[in-house]
């Protein structure tokens, strides 16, 4: 409680309390996060429990339309699964993949960026050329390619490996931005007095890098990471929609949209539109939160 109180009184907390958009976005993001973490309790049914599924419940419209039932608030899909429950479980998978891939790309990107900025020389030149090449191709193309190679290498991969490849393919396109940002800040920081002082007193280079320089370059990284969560979730959804993402046995939002897309023409729009709305809601709230954080942490705008 005390920590929360102190945070609310800090600069960032003040700006948060005075930004309705940020509070709304944080509220939405919190609800999504809460629902997906406690999906087992929040969701009305367990959509993966085959025993409870009844084919007679299949393709029911949302509760407020003719033929809808109050048992299935947002209707059911082709196998009689409750859309609302599938959506809650699906956003759990989307969030986990999104967060995991952002974390992985932060670790890789910050590490390589620190190394490039701190050491300079040929390591720096090589890493930055690599970044240039990566940036000249759209992220979705690189992710698709890695997902495809993963598929070719492990044709009958178990589910956990499929998710590993998915997370890897998203994070391998994401690290570039962190590396570039961190390298730029590190170049500035490494000539500052506190680094020189540490050097003179004989602190090991690795320790300077992580204990002294790293905390000072993390500000922009946090902003970037917040916005990248939204990008990663959308990339995951796109990959899953294209059929190379989350396996159908544990569908993410993108997989749900892909499945529902087949029923669009027979008029059963709710199977695909509700997961789509959920995706937009998550991405939008994370994006708004990231925008606010960027403004709040930017001293020039204060």
């Amino acid at each position: 409680m005390n920590v929360l109180k102190r945070w609310l009184n800090s600069d960032v907390g003040y700006s948060f309390r005075h930004s309705p958009t940020a509070m709304l976005a944080a509220g939405m993001a919190f609800i999504c996060l809460f629902c997906s973490v406690f999906a087992g309790w929040v969701a009305p049914t367990n959509p993966f429990d085959l025993a409870t599924l009844e084919l007679s419940d299949a393709r029911m419209p949302p509760a407020w339309l003719d033929g809808g039932s109050s048992k299935f608030l947002l209707g059911t899909d082709d196998q009689g699964r409750d859309i609302l429950s599938a959506l809650i479980y699906g956003s759990r998978i989307s969030l986990v993949v999104g967060l995991a891939s952002v974390m992985l790309s932060v670790v890789v990107g910050v590490g390589l960026g620190l190394l490039a900025g701190f050491r300079g020389g040929w390591i720096d030149a090589l890493l930055m050329r690599l970044c240039d090449v990566m940036l000249s191709f759209p992220a979705i193309l690189v992710a698709l390619l890695i997902a495809g190679v993963g598929r070719a290498l492990f044709p009958n991969a178990p589910e956990s490996l499929a998710f590993g490849v998915l997370i890897l393919s998203i994070s391998l396109t994401g690290w570039v931005q962190y590396a570039r940002t961190v390298r730029g800040t590190t170049l500035v920081e490494r000539n500052k007095e506190y680094v020189q002082a540490a050097r003179v007193t004989g602190v090991a280079p690795l320790r300077i890098m992580f204990k002294h320089v790293l905390p000072n370059v993390m500000g922009p990284v946090m902003v970037l990471a917040t916005i990248q969560v939204a990008t990663a979730i959308i990339t995951e959804a796109t990959l899953s929609f294209l059929g190379v993402g989350a396996p159908p046995t544990s569908p993410s939002l993108g997989t749900l949209i892909r499945i529902g897309n087949d029923y669009l023409f027979s008029g059963e729009w709710w199977i695909t539109i509700f997961p789509g709305l959920m995706l937009v809601l998550i991405a939008l709230s994370v994006n708004l939160l990231g925008d606010w954080l960027r403004d709040a942490l930017n001293p020039r705008l204060r």
Partner: protein
């Protein structure tokens, strides 16, 4: 300037060789072609014979050299899934994707630039506010959702446009065009709009921002002082100077268009290269993936090169800078 062009050319070649090397590694280490061609029951002699036949016994770099020579001639072997030549498969699908990308790019420019100019000149009016708000939505909606929504509204509910395929296609030599028939235009409408929306919002926001920037400069104030008409100032002076960054972004986005066409083509079952690539990815069809990778890289490299060179044509300051600097 010659040195600059040469440097860019070398850079382009390096990128191409790197991409070709990655494609070659795919061939080498993902899926053994001998096993695929002979099946699991082949004898040891058969395997060795085929290995020698395919040149798999040769040193690594000799094999890479062979791969490069073949790749330059557009030869990537047979598709593992369809059994047809990869070069032919891609040539068949290329026109569909290029037509889609071109129509989308034209749409984005023709609608995006005027909207951006309007939003900058009439800043603060409700119409320009509306344009900006809608554009924010366009940036945050994923492409495939835009496609699905368009299908739902215009194909399923209203029934105005077809939702899949190219419609009537006319064969002109090796190029199959859907743009010469009414039905073809009917079919391209929804996919092109889907593909264009992201680029459109991007171009519009860019033109608006650049325009606002330019309108504050001294030479615009001076032009006003000379008593030139608003029309001449806005379109003769200001717009012309905003076009450099717009040109860059549009050029670079053309490659993005082709990449995003993968998504659009999947949503609308548009028979282009993107759909071919997605099928190759789902079935781990390495030759098709490698060929697509090389082709896309080539397109990207060429576009980057052309944009760099166009800078010199559009912005005379660069010519002076480079010539005087070195």
């Amino acid at each position: 300037m010659l040195a600059f062009i040469l440097q860019r050319l070398i850079q382009a070649v390096v990128v191409m060789v790197t991409v070709a090397f990655i494609a070659f590694l795919l061939f080498q280490y993902v899926g053994d072609p001998v096993v695929i061609l002979l099946g699991p029951d082949a004898t040891k002699e058969q395997v060795n014979l085929l290995r020698a036949d395919l040149g798999l016994e040769q040193p690594f770099f000799v094999q890479f050299g062979h791969f490069l020579t073949n790749a330059v001639q557009g030869e990537f072997g047979l598709s593992l899934r369809q059994g047809a030549k990869v070069s032919r498969l891609i040539a068949e699908r290329l026109p569909a994707t290029l037509e889609l990308a071109l129509v989308a790019a034209t749409l984005a420019l023709v609608v995006g630039i005027p909207m951006g100019v309007y939003a900058a000149l009439r800043r603060g009016t409700w119409a320009s506010q509306l344009i900006m708000t809608v554009s924010l939505l366009g940036v945050s909606l994923p492409t495939f959702l835009i496609g699905i929504l368009l299908i739902l509204v215009f194909a399923v509910m209203l029934g105005w446009f077809p939702s899949f395929g190219r419609g009537d296609v006319v064969q002109m030599g090796w190029w199959s065009s859907g743009l010469v028939t009414v039905k073809g235009w009917h079919h391209i409408a929804l996919p092109a709009v889907t593909l264009a929306i992201f680029q459109l919002t991007l171009i519009m926001r860019l033109v608006r921002a650049e325009m606002l920037e330019v309108l504050r400069t001294d030479y615009i104030k001076f032009a006003r002082a000379r008593g030139l008409s608003n029309r001449t100032i806005h379109f003769g002076h200001a717009l012309k100077n905003t076009l450099v960054p717009v040109l860059t972004i549009t050029g670079l986005q053309l490659g993005g268009l082709i990449a995003f066409a993968i998504i659009t083509e999947t949503v609308f079952q548009w028979p282009g290269m993107g759909l071919l690539f997605i099928q190759a990815v789902t079935f781990a069809d390495i030759p098709v993936m490698a060929a697509y990778l090389c082709l896309i890289a080539l397109i990207f490299v060429v576009i980057n090169l052309v944009v760099d060179l166009l800078y010199f044509v559009v912005d005379p300051r660069l010519r002076v800078d480079k010539a005087g600097g070195h």
